[in-house]
Amino acid sequence: MSGSHRISPGLLTKSATAIEFSFDGRALTGLAGDTLASALLANGVRLVGRSFKYHRPRGIVTVGPEEPCALVDVLTENGREPNQPATTLELVAGLVAESQNRWPSLSFDALAINDRLSRFLPAGFYYKTFMAPGWAWEKLYEPLIRRAAGLGRLQAAVSEHAAPAETVHEHTDVLVVGAGTAGLAAAAHLGRSGLRVLLVDQDVALGGGSLLDARWSSWREAMLARLQELDSVSCLSRTAVVGAYGQGVFGAIETLAPAAIAASGGVRERMRIIRARQLILASGSVERLIAFPGNDVPGVMLAGAALGYLRRYGVAVAQRPAFFLNTDEAYEAAFALADAGVRCAGIIDVRPASKAADRARARGIEVHSHAVIAGVAGRRCVRALRVTDADGRNRRTIEADGLLMSGGYSPASALASQLGAALVWQPAIAAFTPALDSASGYVVGAARGCFGLAAAAQDGEKAAAAIAKNFGRSLGTLSPAPDLPVELEGTPIAAVWEIPGRGKAFVDLQHDVTTADVRLAHREGYEHVEHMKRYTTHGMATDQGRIGGLVGSAVLASARGVPLSGVGQPQPRPYLQPVPFAALAGMEVREHFKPKRRLPLHHWHEGAGATFVSVGLWLRPLVYSKQTGWDPVLNEARAVRRSVGITDVSTLGKIEVQGADAGRFLDFVYANSMSTLAVGRARYGIMLREDGMMLDDGTVSRFGPEQFVLTTTTANSAAILEHLEFQLQANCPTLDVLLTDVGDQWAQFALAGPRSREVLAAVVSGVDVGNEPFPFMAAAEARFAGCAGRLFRISFSGELAYEVAVPASQARSVWLAVLEAGKLFGICPYGLDALNTLRIEKGHVTGAELNGNTSADDLGMQRMLKKQGDFVGRMLSQRFGLSAPERLQLVGVRPADPARRLRNGAHLVLRETDASSLGYITSSTPSVEREGWVGLALVAGGRARIGQQLIARSMIHGETLPIDIVSPHMLDPENLRVRA
């Protein structure tokens, strides 16, 4: 048995394979091909959830992704996945689903009291009610409201091995969204032109509305067969286009069939980023609800959904359903159910007369013309309906166990709106249709209000012909398709939006927004449809209020006393349906979230016991120890000060600058002069932004008249390359200069300490490294342990030091050779922490001081700015404000009591009680050269304060500390060591 309400085979459940599942602990049986919703309905389950705010009993309302009510939790081995629409959740063996937002149980929910209290809980009530005291919102009201409202709860244990989603990039000439008769006809025609066509549809099967009409099956099969034959056409079912991003870019989410997940390595979703030269939007229409009192009682469903459950799954959603409708199209469901043997309790048609009503009466179905539903009896399921004439008179009661409603059809034009289409009111169909310019796409079929399967198919063909013509293609000769079934003549819609009466009439079933809430919004001044939406949250739930969107606008129009065309609809934004974060993340999760850049010597550092730190994308050795604390750092720094150390500085940006005008170009991008640099010399350089602030620093070395190499800070390497390329191409287009990024080609080591020359001498050839022949700031090509490279005498540590650059592939052998030669002097590899200790003692700046807010003068470098010639930042750096004496200037700081430590970020104040800050500590470290800690700080008028005492105040640590302001050059201010 697969349920007592299964009365025929159903298009998707033909195989009749039984599947066991459970809902709220109850074991049930469904069929392969079922959704959870169809399986529940087949078993006669009508109550499936409690509503968001009032905890009212709710049932299944739709047959697709527009479902507002039937959201469930799915329990898996990884936890609980909330808010899954039962109407799209495909049934798999052993599925365990639970209803949401109820306690203790679905049939008895304690918070249903909210429904009785609803006059105290109108739209926006929490803005007004929970105002004071101020602290209470966060601590009391919000947690309480969050517990009472809301839907499912996320409770997922993220599995380490869970497969990521995939991202697929699609390129096509024409994207066809929707595979109903319009989309199928368009794709089949365009396929003949040789244009690449991508046809996507969110449903598990292609065919759209034709799946619900047996007369269309041969036409549909013929079209699908034709598409199959065409190599230029790709078809994707289960793929929902969720956003239009302009320039022909669309986002789509493919949800894999449960059976396909294992074969795809556990991937459940694919995000498809589609780039198309032209669009055919054949997304059909959405049936609307009618806002009558009790339109949310379980058993009230859209008429088209009932037809869907019958045709797709062979399920009769009720045993004695009544209908409430206003179009001839909606009668299809009544006729189909009658054909299947379901007794109809009566059709309530708003219109005084219609051709379909005549046909129904001829079949012996009772039709109440010019009548409306004024109320629903029954709480957990429809029991009876109160019917009145359209003018409210002549009350009577109809016994029924279901009410199938249809308020007409709204074109599903959200994607067109995202592409800028204006909405045009069409009184003939009581709906807005999108006016999209043909450069952005063609809207066809029901999506533009062209209703009827045959009319839509012809509309699709016309668009295909127009597009083929625009591309200069011929459609060729078509083999004749089967004749289109003839459509019966019908009577037009009579618009009906709300039926006044006692009780709540909902316009948004998921967010519990009623017609009264919309009117309240209007009374309180929220007259614009976008304001009403935000005040009431109408249309802001996961279903985006699709089946009631226009109804809310109509109620607002009535409250304002203007025509609906003057109110419009809120702008629909991406995503059109919920998208799992996993699908957006794709493969870029965990270690693939961002790339890791490893140094050429990464494995050596690892073997040497390094602790690594992420610097941008780089992994750099922080210290060669797993021990925490300062001791290992200070041991490394001390080795440099006393003897010799080596550190890997390969992460520095390195850019080769070549050409006849290389020197002129460097003069333009550096604030100090570079063209005067002699071959074989290096120079420290600073770059400014055009606004005069510090951009970056580094060294420039000249290896030939037309050949320079510059270094950038690690963090700025990519940005400086872009900056130089921009300056060269935009502002110096006539210069003969070639820029080449060689950052990854060269490994670079700093060999630092008083014994560094002796170590270097043992491995270098081609250069005499004596102090006279190779002085401070010299640069030369040389060989190191036989490997060709470059040697620079530059120092970041403040000691006698060299930097050795060799091709990255040779890094290991040269590094090992230097270590071997250094053994005699106890050479010590040092990490980023020790590097930092050394540079702070010396007063060298890094990113903490080059923070974008500092000028050259702030850092004591004003004298470096050249007086002659133009350079980036020259003019604006001369503004007096950038060298004003009260600006934050770089100084050194030391605690007055050497036993106490400094804190980065601590504010400097005059007196302990001062709230106004004079500046802050940017960098600090325990010193190896001096007793206690040393630091750098940016202090208002700092240079004039050298010799004064201030208070360092760290609010985070609750500490105040007297500190001495000193020169930033706390080590060897005469630069004797680097020149030794």
């Binding site: 991003y245 302009g246 320039q247 022909g248 870019v249 780039r275 800028g420 055009e690 606004d691 872009e722 390329e725 921009f726 191409q729 935009a730 502002n731 287009p733 010639g869 133009d870 020259r874 003019m875 604006l876 001369q878 503004r879």
Partner: protein, 95 residues
């Protein structure tokens, strides 16, 4: 997301490029004075309409290119190399 027709590489996704600002403002001559440099650095119109822009193809040819783009509709009307002079369509036309 923009699809940018690089004159060197063909049409590519926006993520391959870095926006480098208003291309209708040439850098003033060295002797142009503080006012001119201040305008060049800070004054931006933020207009709704056609805009001449610099884009650097960082994940492609690394060439600087010029685009004529409509800031409301994102339509790209013209594209050129760094040295090309592109003219903006009249205000209110197209886009």
């Amino acid at each position: 997301m923009l699809r940018i027709p690089c004159p060197w590489c063909g049409e590519r996704d926006e993520i391959e490029f870095r926006y480098r600002g208003d291309a209708s403002k040439p850098r003033p001559a060295a002797d142009a004075g503080l006012e001119a440099f201040s305008t060049y650095t800070y004054a931006r119109e933020n207009r709704c309409g056609w805009h001449l822009e610099w884009w650097l193809h960082v994940a492609g040819c690394r060439k600087l290119i010029k685009l004529v783009r409509h800031t409301l509709t994102h339509e790209i009307r013209a594209v050129g190399r760094a040295g090309d002079s592109l003219t903006l369509p009249p205000e209110g036309s197209g886009g």
